[in-house]
Subunit: 215 residues, 2 copies
DNA sequence: CTCCATCAGTACCGTACGGTACGGTTCGCC
DNA sequence: GGCGAACCGTACCGTACGGTACTGATGGAG
């Protein structure tokens, strides 16, 4: 398990070796299990069977490690593009419901919650560098998927809206409401994931009532 | 400035002396300015011109101090009850818009953001005690105001909804969308507060399109 | 075989924090 | 005036963390 390593982690051209990816995986596990206080350099080194010196060599700094964790996690989540098939009303609704349910499941994920908590905790100092990173890598991705979907709906004459951002904001708000914040605050999400499908359908129906062309 | 102190802080029956309230005020200032890392016992003692010993005597613990800060801040924010006047459509809309704008302004407040960041940062460990406290003291309050408003609208035949919680969730989502999270992540709210009025109106119009009786 | 780069493991250092203990001072009360 | 309670300021202690330096082992390159 030593010597020069040349194989790189696939995807995103992240420039990380597999070893470094495994280290980041362990770091994410520590973060999810114990929060930011559990994410110490010594702890990561112990959990990943590597030396602290290597951590500093690879990531330069503790903040570098945090940034690498966010980038690494984002590189693993790839949003599938919406197929450019011809949309009818039922198809659009199905796509929207699927998007809404995916959104809820992503936001409720362990790693997502832990990384959001981490970035929020560091938002006060350091100019919210992690926050911007998280927003760029996470939100922008899912926003693009939604934007493409909404645009396709408008092209097909099924949706009517002036500002796509406003329509997306309404969809996001109807789907998520204050759930994300409540989960971030630690509210037990036990069993609530069962209702995500129903919740997604209700939100999409409301969205279509607002922006659909044939009510 | 010493000796037995008997005067108590008004409201909420908090059982805090004025001195202790002033200390909590300074603690909140430190938290707002520098985040959780700046909120050290020594720092609070220095900023408030008190001794660490007194801090531990009054609040018992660092977590006790944090809890007291949340309770103290919540005791200062009192939501005005909606007047039980007869509502017409324009009046209901005005009330809803005022509520929405107040909600945005509260969520965008310095102290609110700092306390939410604090509670979220501690959500991983400690069983999210602070999160539950924050939710109970903050969210429940504003939720009651909204609930009363919605109920008044239904009584007046201006709103139609089956589940009041669901209607409130839709209103909240349309008003806030992902703004709260973005502000928690550190996105610069500079100048955005100017748009709160316009944003509130748009959200309320959408809400009324969904739940209003005469579209 | 020999050199060299990489890495794990550990010891180490400076610092900062939570929490406690102590001396000195002010104030109310008898 | 004297007593006691509350309190400030500071010193102190144990601990834990970020970051660095050193040692020894491993495996590839010439």
């Amino acid at each position: 398990m030593q010597g020069v390593e040349t194989t790189r982690v696939a995807g995103a051209g992240s420039g990380l070796t597999e070893r470094q990816g495994a280290v980041l995986e362990q770091a994410l596990r520590l973060l999810v299990d114990g929060g930011e206080r559990a994410l110490t350099t010594a702890g990561v080194a112990r959990a990943a069977n590597c030396s602290k010196e290597s951590l500093y060599k690879w990531f330069g700094d503790r903040d570098g490690l945090l940034s690498a964790m966010i980038a690494f996690q984002a590189s693993k989540v790839r949003t599938l593009d919406v197929s450019a098939e011809a949309l009818d009303a039922a198809g659009l609704r199905a796509h929207l419901v699927a998007f809404a349910e995916d959104l809820l499941n992503v936001l409720a994920g362990d790693v997502s919650l832990a990384l959001n908590r981490l970035a929020i905790g560091q938002a006060s100092r350091e100019g919210s560098k992690l926050g911007r990173l998280l927003e760029e890598r996470g939100r922008r991705q899912i926003g693009r998927r939604a934007g493409a979907l909404l645009e396709a709906g408008r092209k097909a004459g099924l949706l009517a809206f002036g500002d796509a951002d406003e329509a997306y904001g309404a969809l996001y708000g109807l789907v998520v409401s204050d759930w994300h914040l409540r989960m971030l605050l630690g509210e037990d999400p036990g069993g609530l994931k069962k209702n995500f499908g129903r919740r997604a359908e209700r939100a999409v129906d409301a969205f279509l009532a607002l922006y659909g062309r044939k009510g």
